[in-house]
């Protein structure tokens, strides 16, 4: 199935997928790739603070992309931040996919009031933008939970908030796919043979909705990463003890007026590059699935 998905794709799409893969590898191997283990406060030396990138006159080769105001290497910080940004993004999309597809399958299969309720919820959800929902949930969590609990739970809360904002397209796709498959003969035959519903759903419906779901997931991943970065930038995302790329931009932005551009630009570019690659890949996958791209008799 995966190969079938890639068959119709253009070269640009495959390059983009390769870039995403490279990002994943970099992030996973941050601990080994990063020049400085920035979480270990003992390695920080204030003498190294606010150094520009290595190619400028005041730069230092040990810190290729410069350092921040506490002497932390920007490159290392970005790598670890990347790990967090990607982790949250993937987790949120995975969660949204599981929740959304399950809900959609159920609604499509059972129909009736379950379907109606789901569709109303989905409609209502769509009117509220992801950022507001996520901000609100985070604010709620922040106020309801005591400080220490909030810090440990910080990441799951953000993941949950983003997932909550993203489940609808998955549910819709799964529901439509289920409705289509439900009418087909083999489903009715299976029902006559009293095969359990979930077996039918898993065995037959799921493979058929997989294609659109993968496309939605890819596009959703880009949005999830952006949302997490935005939340962190606003200060309502994950707790600042382990900074994501958004947090890095936030702290770095204070030093922008003084001309220390590297603290903002490099984490920002890493973020933008990742999301761009994900979006290009998602776009390409969607075009690959859509046969309308060719023209014959006009």
């Amino acid at each position: 199935m995966r190969l079938g998905l890639l068959d119709g794709t253009r070269r640009g799409t495959r390059i983009a997928l390769g870039v995403v893969l490279a990002y994943v590898l970099l992030a996973a191997g941050a601990r080994w790739v990063a020049p400085q283990p920035v979480q270990d406060l003992r390695t920080l030396d204030l003498m190294n603070s606010s150094l520009p990138p290595a190619w400028s006159p005041e730069g230092n080769r040990a810190f290729p992309l410069g350092t921040d105001e506490q002497g932390r290497d920007v490159l290392s910080g970005a790598l670890f931040g990347l790990r967090l940004s990607m982790g949250v993004g993937f987790a949120a999309v995975a969660l949204a996919m599981i929740l959304g597809v399950s809900a959609g399958l159920l609604a499509g299969y059972r129909g009736g009031w379950l379907d109606a309720v789901l569709m109303r919820a989905a409609d209502a959800q769509l009117t509220f933008p992801a950022i507001l929902v996520a901000m609100l949930l985070d604010g709620l969590a922040r106020s309801v939970l005591p400080r220490s609990v909030h810090e440990t739970l910080g990441v799951p809360v953000v993941v949950g908030a983003i997932a909550l904002a993203q489940w609808v397209p998955f549910a819709r796709a799964a529901r439509v796919g289920t409705l289509v498959e439900r009418e087909k003969g083999y489903v009715q035959a299976a029902q006559v043979m009293a095969r359990p519903g979930w077996a039918i759903l898993l065995g037959h419906v799921l493979p058929n909705v997989l294609g659109p779901v993968v496309v939605i997931a890819t596009i959703g991943l880009g949005n999830a990463i952006l949302t997490e970065a935005t939340l962190s930038f606003l200060g309502v995302g994950i707790p600042p003890t382990s900074p994501s790329l958004g947090t890095l931009v936030r702290t770095g932005s204070a030093y922008l007026p003084s001309g220390a551009w590297w603290m903002v630009v490099f984490p920002g570019l890493a973020l933008a590059g990742l999301v761009l690659a994900v979006n290009v890949a998602g776009d390409g996958l969607r075009d690959g699935l859509d046969p309308k791209q060719r023209g014959a008799v006009s």
């Binding site: 060719r294 023209g295 014959a296 008799v297 006009s298």
Partner: protein, 325 residues
């Protein structure tokens, strides 16, 4: 005025060598006559129709052919020459009027815009002419209907509107692409009758594309059979139906279910499938499915030979009057 198509070639150019889709199609339609163009799906009938109005887009392109309308000759491989004749010299009746009519505009509006695109008419005159056209095609209460949207009309009425649109500028040639296929049988009969009447009244030449031999028998004066991008037989309609000469035509006629055929007997279908473009076998394209195929058929493609008002491309045609072998 009479209409003649000469040497139409349509090819597919999608990387690699060009694949021929329609090859060397020619015919002549006198004024007020209907030529039926018959064939299986994929034979190239719709492409021929599209080529006549220049609605062919990459990777498919028209590589050759000329269309003569009365005194005027147009090169079909030149898009700029073809644009001006669309609608004004060649009208088009589509297969499905429901999707072909714009759902956001009234029927009257669409008629008026077509009229004003081709004829120097003021708004009021165009409106009047539109109403007249609607009456001509037998639409009941035309003044009221003109203000209706396509979704408010029945299938038969929409098809009448489509015919009115095709005739709006008074073109000498009208191409009807499977225009009865989407209709139920009784509506089909009405539309066929309407077309017959209009052809007589306006003296238009009609290229009637269909796979339905029944419609052809009723409406056409001559019939051309297409197979795998080429014309394989062309004859006056009674002659073709009574005594077809090409084995493919014979098989097509045999495959039409008749009320008289004994129940319980299998419908004679033609074994095999028509070759896809670019996959035509050597020699005669039909030979793998032909009961009369010989070695010559397998190696040498028969050329289309014209005899009087008929044409035939076969090495072993059926005898002229017998009709059966």
């Amino acid at each position: 005025m009479s209409v003649a198509l000469e040497g139409l070639q349509v090819t597919l150019a999608a990387g690699g060598p060009e694949i021929p889709l329609v090859q060397d199609v020619s015919f002549h339609i006198p004024s007020g006559r209907v030529l039926g163009l018959v064939g299986e799906s994929g034979a190239g009938k719709s492409l021929t129709a599209a080529a006549l109005i220049g609605l062919v887009s990459p990777p498919v392109r028209i590589s050759g052919g000329t269309l003569t309308l009365g005194e005027r000759t147009v090169r079909l491989d030149d898009p700029r020459a073809v644009r001006p004749i669309r609608g004004s010299q060649v009208g088009f009746v589509p297969q499905d009027p429901f999707t072909s009519l714009d759902p956001l505009f009234t029927v009257g509006d669409q008629l008026v815009e077509t009229l004003q695109a081709h004829l120097p008419l003021s708004g009021a005159k165009a409106r009047a002419r539109a109403l007249q056209l609607l009456a001509d095609v037998g639409l009941p209460s035309p003044a009221e209907r003109a203000g209706h949207y396509p979704h408010q009309l029945s299938g038969g009425m929409r098809q009448r509107v489509a015919i009115a649109l095709a005739l709006a500028a008074g073109p000498p040639l009208v191409v009807a692409d499977e225009c009865t296929t989407a209709l139920d049988v009784s509506t089909q009969a009405q539309i066929v009758a309407l077309l017959g009447r209009l052809v007589e009244e306006h003296g238009t030449s009609v290229l009637l594309i269909t796979h339905d031999l029944g419609v052809v028998a009723e409406l056409a004066t001559e019939v051309a059979i297409m197979y795998s991008g080429r014309i394989v037989e062309h004859a006056p309609v009674e002659e073709l139906i009574r005594a077809p000469r090409h084995p493919y035509t014979r098989a097509l006629l045999d495959a039409v279910p008749r009320p008289a055929s004994a129940p319980g007997r299998a419908l004679p279908a033609i074994p095999g499938v028509m070759p896809r473009p670019g996959e035509a076998p050597a020699g005669c394209a039909f030979h793998p499915r032909c009961p009369r195929a010989s070695d010559r058929c397998r190696t040498e493609r028969p050329a289309l030979e014209t005899v009087g008002r008929s044409a035939l491309a076969c090495w072993h045609p059926l005898a002229p009057e017998a009709g059966r072998d």
